[in-house]
Each structure stands twice: as C-alpha cells, then as structure tokens.
C-alpha cells in the first residue's frame, strides 16, 4: 500500500480495489473450504462410529450438560448477528458502531469460552473423561444396560476432540475480531475497505455453523435417552 497513488488501502501489487477485494473474498472462501474438509474428516469418523455403536453413543451423550450447550448456542448465534451488523457499520463508515459491534461479538465469544470452561470443569468433576480415570459409576451403569463401556469412552473422545478443536477456532476468532477493533480504532477500515471485516465475519460464521452441527451430534443425540430405556 506504500507506493500507491490511488487509495491508501490499495496494496501495490493489485491493479485496483475491486481486484483486491475479489482476491480477499475468493481467498477466504477457499480457506473455509479447507476448514470444512478439516472438520469433515472428523465428522466422517464420527458418522462411522455412530452407525457402528448407536446405543453407546446415545447413552454417553445423555451424560453431557445440555443446558450449557444451549446457552452457548444462543451466544454464538447472537454473535453472528452482531458481526453482520459490524459489516454494515463499516460499509456506512460508522466507526463507533463498528467498534461497538465488534466488541460485543468478542464479548459473546469470550462468554462462550467461559461457559465451555465451566462445562469442562463439571465433566472432569464427574470423571466423564476417557482413560484410566473414567467414572466407575457410568461404567457400571453402561455394563448394567448391556453396553460396552469402551465405546462410551470412544464417544467422549469425539466430544473432547471436536469441542476442543472448535474451541481453538473460537479463540483464533476472538483474536481476529480484536485485531479488527484495533484496525478500526486506528482508522484503517474506511468504507471502501470494509472487505476486511467481511473476511473475518465469514470465518466467524463458519465457526458458528460448525457449532450448529456439533450441538445436535454431541448433545442432542442423547436427549430422548430416558424415554426409551
């Protein structure tokens, strides 16, 4: 952007802002494709094991805390709204509103992680952890019901790996949003360069969307468990 004579936000190797924004948008969509495939590998593995061990998975799922997950879902969906409002503010050149919406989004994301922390703490407290410290009560309960406790642990492996990787994505997202706040504060997001906000928001929507798959796969799978057994 240094040698440019056109616009302070045009990078030197692009012909014009249109080309620059087209590149940025195409780039983020391609990155999102890689993210979907990254999660796709593990979703595929989950599908295979869910088909093989349906009863164990439903049983294990019924031990997860659906209240925390529901609260978190609300947080994430709301944050998707606020980051979209941030794009609108950036487009209109309303810097104060842009910063405000970005901060609300970051706060909601942080709240998600805090709730997630409480949830993990509760899980550990209940020994809902695969491996040698796996809860004896749940193991006994599973055996009583004719289920294989090993496969109950397998579900929990998925639970920790999937929510863990998703959590890392949330933390990265918080970092990106705070970087946007900093950029907006410095005044480097003028209306003609709002695509930076758009790029981050697309990433953020993906993180939301993945959660909307994790929620039913992990938490709601065991929702009707008591009714059938």
């Amino acid at each position: 952007m240094s040698a440019s004579t056109h616009s302070p936000v045009l990078k030197h190797h692009f012909e014009d802002l249109g080309q620059q924004h087209a590149c940025e948008r195409l780039g983020i969509w391609m990155f999102l494709a890689t993210e979907i495939l990254f999660f796709g590998g593990i979703f595929g593995a989950y599908t295979v094991y869910r088909l093989w061990y349906p009863h164990e998975f439903v049983f294990a799922s019924s031990h997860l805390n659906r209240l925390f997950a529901t609260i978190n879902t609300v947080f994430l969906i709301t944050s998707s709204l606020t980051i979209t409002l941030a794009i609108r503010s950036a487009k209109l050149g309303d810097r104060a509103a842009l910063i405000r919406y970005l901060l609300i989004t970051a706060a909601l994301a942080t709240a998600f992680m805090v709730v997630k922390g409480f949830e993990y703490a509760e899980d550990f407290h209940e020994h809902l952890v695969p491996g040698p410290s796996f809860s004896h009560e749940i193991e006994k309960e599973a055996v009583d019901k004719g289920l294989d406790p090993g496969k109950v642990q397998l579900f929990l492996c998925f639970y920790y790996i999937m929510t863990g990787i998703h959590g890392i994505h949330i933390i990265v997202g918080i970092g990106c949003i705070l970087w946007l706040v900093w950029e907006a504060w410095r005044g480097t997001i003028p209306p003609e360069n709002y695509s930076t906000v758009e790029v981050v928001s697309l990433y953020w929507h993906l993180v939301d969307a993945i959660w909307l798959f994790l929620m039913p796969l992990l938490y709601l799978a065991g929702a009707g468990y008591g009714a059938h057994h």
Binding site: H12, E15, G27, A45, G150, L154, C157
Partner: protein
C-alpha cells in the same frame, strides 16, 4: 506494508525502475539478510524454498544411501534392524513432505506463476512468506525428531503401532508433518486465487501456459486433501499424547479408519507431486521441439481430470487390509481410470515431438527421460491397481520400484528439468551446457540401474522395509546399490555447476531458450515488479509455428542456432550485455 518499503531499500532511489543505469532486479535491489528473511517478493520466496528444499533433498538422499548400503549384505551391512527402520522412515518423511510436495509449487510455482500470467505478485504476499516460515517450522520439528533418534514407524505412521507401541519420536515427527501441511494449503490457496483473479489483460483460461494449468490442478488437491490428513494427524497426536483417541482398538476404535483418512490425502498427494512435473515437461518439450503443443485443451483438462480422479482411488492401498471385496473391486476400477488422463498427456507429448526441430539441451534430455520413466512408472501402476496382481505384489520391492519410477523418475527428474530450464531466468546466468547434458544422462542411467533390479526383486517376492533378505537376492541388491551411487553422482553434478554458474556463467538475455511464455519477456533476472508495464496478451502460450511470444512479439534466435559457432556471440534477447561465452568447467 512497511516491509515492502524497507525491502526496496535505499538503493532503489526515489525514481522507480524506468531509467536506472544499472538494471535493478529482485536479486540486487537490497542485500541485507533481513531483506531476504522479511521479503514479500514471490521471486525471493521461491529462492528461499529452493535453498531449503535442496538441503532436505540432501538429507533425504543421505538416508537413502544408508538404506541402500545396508542392503548390500543379506543380513544388513552395518545398521541394526532398529536403525534401519529409522533410516528408511527418515528417508520417506524427508523426501515426501519436505522435498517432493513443496518442490515445484514452492520454488517454481512461487517464482513463475505471477510472471507467467502477467501479475506483479501472488495475491497474498504476506501469506506467501508465512508459508515458508510455517514450512521451516514443520521441517524443524521433523528434522529434530530425526536427529534425536528418529522414527521407526515408516512414513505412513499406521496406528496402533505409531500411537501406542513405538518407542521413537513419533510425536514431534507427526507435529512437523502436520505443520508443514498448512504451508502446502497456503501455497495452494495463494496460487489458485492468483490464477483466478490476477491474470493480465488478454490472458484467458485458454491462453494459460500448461504449467499454470498443472499447478492450478495441484493447488486444488493441496487445498482439498491436506485438511483431511491434518485432522487425521491431530487425532493420532491426541491419541499418542493424551491417550484419548479414536483409532485405539482397545476402546472400540478402528486402525483401518486411519488408513482411509490417511490415504484420502496421501494418494492425491502423489498427484501433488507428479502434476507439477507434467506441467514442466509440457513447457520444455514444446520449447525444445519448436512446435506448438499438440492438443492444448486435452493436456490442460487432463490435469484437472487427474486431480479429480485422484481423489477417488485411495483405498487401492488397502486391498489386503481387510476392506470388502466389492469395495476393492470398485477401487481397482477407479484406480485404472486415472491411467486415461495420464495417457492423454503422454500421447500429446509424443505427438508434440513428432517431426519437431529438437535440440538436446539439459532440460530437454531430462524431459525425455521423464517421458520414458513416467510411462514405465504409470504402466507398472496398472499391475498394482489390478486386484489379483496386487495381492501378489503388495508390499514388495515391485511397489517400491513403481513409486520411485513415478516420484523420482517422474517428479525429481522433472524438477531437475525445471531447474535447468528456468535457472537462466532466475539468476541471469547460463550454466555449462556440456556438463549439464552429462549430468542429465548420468541421472537417467543411474536411475534405471537403481530401480529396474527392484522390479525383478519385487516380482520374485522380496518384501519392502525388511533389513534382511535371502541370499539369492544379493546380486540384484548390489546392482541396485551400485546404480544408486551413479544416481547420486548425477545429482551431485548440478550441485557443483549450478552454483559455479552464478560466478562464471555467461550472462543471458531475457529469452535464452527462445520460448514463448510471458516470463521470458522480462529481463533475466526479473525486475522487482516483474513487468515495467502490465503486459497485454494477444495469443496462445505456444505459438512456435509462427514464432511469436504471448505478447505477439517475434522470438529471438532459437538455442539450436548456437551449435553453429558463428552464432555464438549473437544476442539472444533485448536486454543484458552479452559477453564472450565462458565455459564453467572444462
């Protein structure tokens, strides 16, 4: 973008390139070490890749030499069985993940894609330098794992051995591979966006050089396959480090699942390695036979065909691993399907050569070598795709010979062709013609000596990965090891004459090979921003028949004219002072 300012440096003067007396190019624009380490210039990043992968190639080669030397004796010449396992794993990991996969996309792709499509840079220059750093961090992890004792699992890292039983440095090794995968994704993404959005006016899809098409197809695979192996390696690492995992059979997990996920990447990865080589060969064969490529669209679309079909045949690695009969049948059929686009390419190259005016410089010799070796490698692949013969040949030296024919005979030879073809453009200097021809022939002969005996051994049942073998295989193993030292000599020679050419080589003009691509219309080495003015493309990439480059300008004297001594000092391009030819060696 403060980096861009400092890297242009004080030498660039207030006035941009136009009337500078000594031409400013990307090499001499700034000389500090920081100007290289913080560069966002795609050409410098290409050279950073060139330097680093050359080092990894040497390391991988040393381990290959250890393995081959050990196999001189039926009971192992000098390595313990454990050390042997670690040596062949180190060879595989180094060569595959840190040489073959980044070689052409990292070096030639970074350097030449923007030049070939008339762009000033790749779409995301900072992402580009980040990809090199990520690559180096990954290489550091894996290299460290190798140095402090190595990995003994084989490069395929199959659990449960790798996740539980192995006592070696699986974790840092896998970590390195995982990290370097991101570098591969970044490079692929950058190339795809650049090709889509940054082509010069007139550079339609139908006028893209075939090298660009092949790297576009490669990038597609990098983008779509690498994330899957990334998550697979995460699962493996979590299983090994934290004891929670999904491949562990003791809690109901399935190691075969790892193989599915792993080969879903690693089979397409074969095409990440070979497709760029095919692109290089398309450029070189048409240039040195002075003919338009035969069937441009067929060659371009067969790259995309290979990229797509390459995703559908991973499970042919698992014919004996316990997949169902019908699945094996299907994957056998799909595996044979990839022969179709590959054969389209080979036939088109052959048709391009037909009645061409051929000159045998090093890039051409190597490309012709590629044509033969890749064809043999491809045809022996059919033996392995066929269900019945694969059960006999599975995990024998036949497989080893097959994939070395494709990857070494194909990819490494094509990489060498690329280095020789574009070296004058990258450095502005020409290497010794005679020595480069000698090295090319030695490489190809050494290659045959090394790997043809392995086909015979494998056909007679010598298993791969074993340090010991029956006495009857010794003569073939000795032949193979002897061949590998000839091959090593072939690789050593460019390691000598190419660096020497930097100091003693003849300076070349913009277009020493009289080729048609846009990259040959800028000075050698290219200026900082590639083109003084954005080029306007008016014709296809291979108009050798009417003798014009892509901007519609006439081509200089083709290199074959140099055989006539009266043409020796003739200028071969518009820029760069011509000196009397200086032979590098001899």
């Amino acid at each position: 973008m403060s980096i861009a300012v400092t890297h242009r440096g004080p030498a660039a003067a207030p006035v941009p390139p136009e009337p500078a007396p000594a031409p400013v190019n990307y090499l001499n624009v700034s000389h500090t070490i920081w100007s290289w380490l913080f560069t966002v210039d795609h050409k410098r990043i290409g050279l950073l890749y060139l330097g680093s992968i050359s080092v990894f190639f040497v390391i991988g080669g040393i381990f290959a030499a250890l393995v081959r030397t050990n196999l001189l004796m039926p009971n192992g010449a000098f390595l313990s069985e454990d050390a042997y396992n670690r040596a062949f794993t180190a060879h595989g990991v180094m060569m595959l993940f840190f040489f073959l996969i980044p070689a052409v996309p990292g070096v030639m792709g970074n350097f030449f894609i923007p030049l070939m499509i008339g762009a000033k840079d790749l779409a995301f220059p900072k992402l580009n330098i980040a990809s090199w750093y990520v690559f180096m961090i990954g290489a550091t992890f894996s290299g460290w794992a190798v140095l402090v004792g190595g990995i003994d699992t084989g490069w395929t890292l199959y659990p449960p051995y790798s996740s539980r039983a192995s006592q070696s440095n699986v974790l840092p090794g896998v970590m390195g591979v995982f990290i370097s995968g991101f570098s591969s994704i970044m490079t692929g993404l950058n190339i795809m966006v650049t090709v889509h959005k940054m082509r010069a006016p007139g550079m339609t899809w139908g006028r893209l050089p075939l090298f660009v098409w092949s790297l576009y197809a490669t990038s597609l695979i990098q983008l779509l396959a690498t994330p899957v192996v990334a998550v697979t390696l995460v699962l493996l690492m979590v299983e090994r480090a934290a004891g929670i995992g999904i491949f562990d059979p003791s809690i109901g997990g399935d190691p075969i699942l790892f193989q599915h996920l792993f080969w879903f990447y690693s089979h397409p990865a074969v095409y990440i390695m070979i497709l760029p080589g095919m692109g290089v060969v398309s450029e070189v064969l048409t240039c040195f036979s002075r003919k338009n490529i035969f069937g441009y669209h067929a060659v371009a679309w067969s790259s995309m065909g290979i990229a797509v079909v390459g995703f559908l045949l991973w499970a042919h690695h698992m014919f004996v691993a316990g997949i169902s009969f019908y699945a094996a049948l299907l994957f056998s059929l799909l595996s044979m399907l990839v022969a179709v686009p590959s054969a389209i390419k080979v036939f088109n190259w052959t048709a391009t050569l037909y009645r061409g005016s051929i000159t045998f410089h090093a890039p051409m010799l190597l490309s012709l070598g590629f044509l033969v070796l890749f064809t043999v490698g491809g045809l022996t692949g059919l033996f392995l795709a066929t269900l019945g013969t694969d059960i006999h040949l599975h995990d024998t030296y036949f497989v080893v010979a097959h994939f070395h024919f494709v990857m070494v005979g194909g990819m490494v030879i094509a990489y060498m062709a690329a280095v020789h073809f574009w070296w004058p453009k990258m450095t502005g200097r020409m290497y010794s013609d005679w020595w480069s021809r000698v090295a090319s022939v030695i490489m190809i002969v050494g290659f045959f000596l090394t790997f043809v005996p392995q086909f015979i051994m494998g056909y007679h049942g010598m298993p791969r990965r074993y340090p010991n073998y029956p006495q009857e295989f010794q003569i073939l193993n000795v032949m193979s090891t002897a061949g590998s030292s000839v091959l090593g000599l072939g690789y050593l020679l460019p390691g000598i004459y190419l660096p020497l050419s930097l100091f003693f080589g003849k300076k070349v003009g913009a277009n020493p090979w009289s080729a048609t691509g846009l990259e040959w219309t800028t000075p050698s080495p290219p200026t900082v921003h590639n083109f003084e003015v954005t080029p306007i493309v008016v014709c296809g990439p291979y108009e050798y028949a009417i003798g014009v480059d892509q901007m519609g300008r006439g081509l200089p004297e083709p290199p074959g004219a140099q055989d006539d001594p009266s043409h020796r000092d003739g200028s071969t391009g518009p820029s760069g002072p011509m000196k009397k030819e200086t032979e590098v060696v001899g």
